[in-house]
Amino acid sequence: MVSFKPALAFLAITLLFIACDDQRTQTITWTEFEPVYMSQEEFLASVSVTEPRDMEEPGKIYLYDDYLFVNDVNQGVHIINNSNPSAPYFAGFVTIPGNKDIAVRGDLLYADSAGDLLVFDISDFENPKLISRIKDVFNLSQTQFRGHPFRPVDPSRGIVVDWMEVEVEEVCRGDCHQPRGPWGWGFMTFGRASADAAGSTGSVGTGGSMARFAITGDQLYAVDWSNLVTFDISAPEPVKRNQQGVGWMIETIFPYNEHLFIGSANAMYIYDIHTNPASPERVSVFRHATACDPVVVEGDYAYVTLRDGDHCPNITGNNQLEVIDVSDLFNPKRIGIYKMLHPHGLGIDSGDLFISEGDYGLKVMDASDPYNVKEVRHIQDIRTFDVIPNDGVLIVTGPTGIIQYDYSDVQNLRELSVIMAGEEAKKRNL
């Protein structure tokens, strides 16, 4: 006998009490940065020369004479006596809140401090003196952490000297939209200026490939998020001569001969600094895939590394070295692309090309034939960030410190010394 009633009753009760909407819970976690403030008075008073101390977060480096100047991100500048690369030692520390970039010319050290430009007399290397401060010359509107959301700056609370990382979680019924707060793109620090610049009056230091400061002759060129700023530094008191928009997400500046090569997120810009050094003129733009992109130049060829990642534009897979023929500066041409792992800063010396591969180590490339760049060696057990090849000594920076190699034989790099930073340095001191 067929018995449908209980089944129908069961079905009816079931359908009565149950909704037919899918239930979704979305949890979004992300890292956000919130500003660390310092009052104006404290900010101005905090610049000081102190005893040497351990490096926490090595940033840009600058080689000048026998000294290494190492930016500790947002903290200040370490002064390291490097007269013997096999036995460098800390000589002093200059506390500079909000410092990310440095450059040296003659006896003067130029450093940014949030939006200000500071000038130190370093005629006594181990006892620098602040001699000048130019306020509010850099555009800090986008100096947050590239690629990460950040909380808005409240100017009434003081000057932003650092950013603190906080973890945020948002739980939504259904779909969350974008996390609240603006998305920022900012300085990635670490930079390069060059001693190769034409017109240099001589005593200019050497920096890494990711610099935002560069000195040629009597001009200090600095890039921020979107601008190229020119200072006349013929006198100890710098004078701002020019500021011009370049593009968006400007990252690095590299002076070579009579030109500036400026790396941005999606292009390499070439500027003429010979015709009017105080007001560089754009020569050409070489577009490339969107990514982080330091650039160095040797001879008629520019070498650009592109990388993706957390701090870089949201394009994945752009990890490569591009070789660009710049013999015709009005019409740069790409002549080669080489796959990389996660390239950061790079440096070149007489065809020996050194590329920091981030967490993947350091690569030594033979670029003696720019049309056929070959990998010579890959050192994998170090973390690297930027490099300076200088007269046979390769200075490699990374989150764990600074390593110096003798590269007189690139087939057989010989480690000269290690200056530890961050947790490694703390462990050493325990």
Binding site: F4, F10, T14, D22, Q23, R24, T25, T29, P179, D310
Partner: protein, 181 residues
């Protein structure tokens, strides 16, 4: 992805072949002591969409009214995952004869699969599967109606270390047809 689908279809074919060559099954409602095999298709409808699920079950008729089977299916949610439920299928006949109503409970776990390659940075998981329902068996065919719960979750890696974790319970009205063989 194609490999996973191929494995699933191969297993499905294997089960069909196995059950087709197994001991003589009990005819539908012919009493205790025989195999029950069913190939079915469910329409899963809800306010947030509708989709199809294919099922295959193999079990045993323990008493005149009660059978238990294990089954597997493939639900084409594509949101962004599809689900492969593996479940225990309990059926209680409410009457005797070739035409009768029955109560049914399917419960188990689903495994998730991702179709296509548009989601390159996703970790996904299935979850609990539950489907109470009723049905009517008419000779070799049956029709069923019930409510289907399918749980799944997935993580998408976003820019700048952002992780989006989504948990979803697909809550759908189920209408199905089955063929007993």
């Amino acid at each position: 992805m194609k490999l996973r689908k191929s494995i699933f279809l191969t297993l499905l074919a294997g089960v069909v072949v196995f059950t087709g060559t197994a001991a003589t099954p009990a005819a539908a409602n012919s009493g205790a002591g025989g195999f029950v095999r069913q190939l079915g298709a469910d329409w899963l409808a809800g306010n947030d969409g509708s989709t199809l699920r294919l099922n295959l079950t193999l079990g045993y008729q323990y008493t005149d009214r009660f059978s238990a089977a294990i089954g597997a299916g493939y639900a084409f949610y594509n949101d962004p995952v599809d689900l492969i439920p593996v479940y225990l299928d309990l059926v209680y006949l409410l009457g005797q004869g070739s035409n009768t109503a029955f109560l049914q409970l399917k419960s188990g776990f689903s495994r998730s699969v991702m179709r296509g390659d548009e989601h390159t940075s996703v970790r996904h998981r299935g979850g609990l599967f539950l489907q109470p329902g009723v049905g009517i068996r008419m000779n070799d065919m049956s029709i069923t109606a019930g409510f289907s719960f399918d749980h799944a979750s997935w993580d998408l890696d976003g820019f700048a270390g952002r992780v989006v974790r989504e948990k979803v319970s697909f809550r759908r009205i189920q209408l199905g047809v089955g063929y007993h063989f």
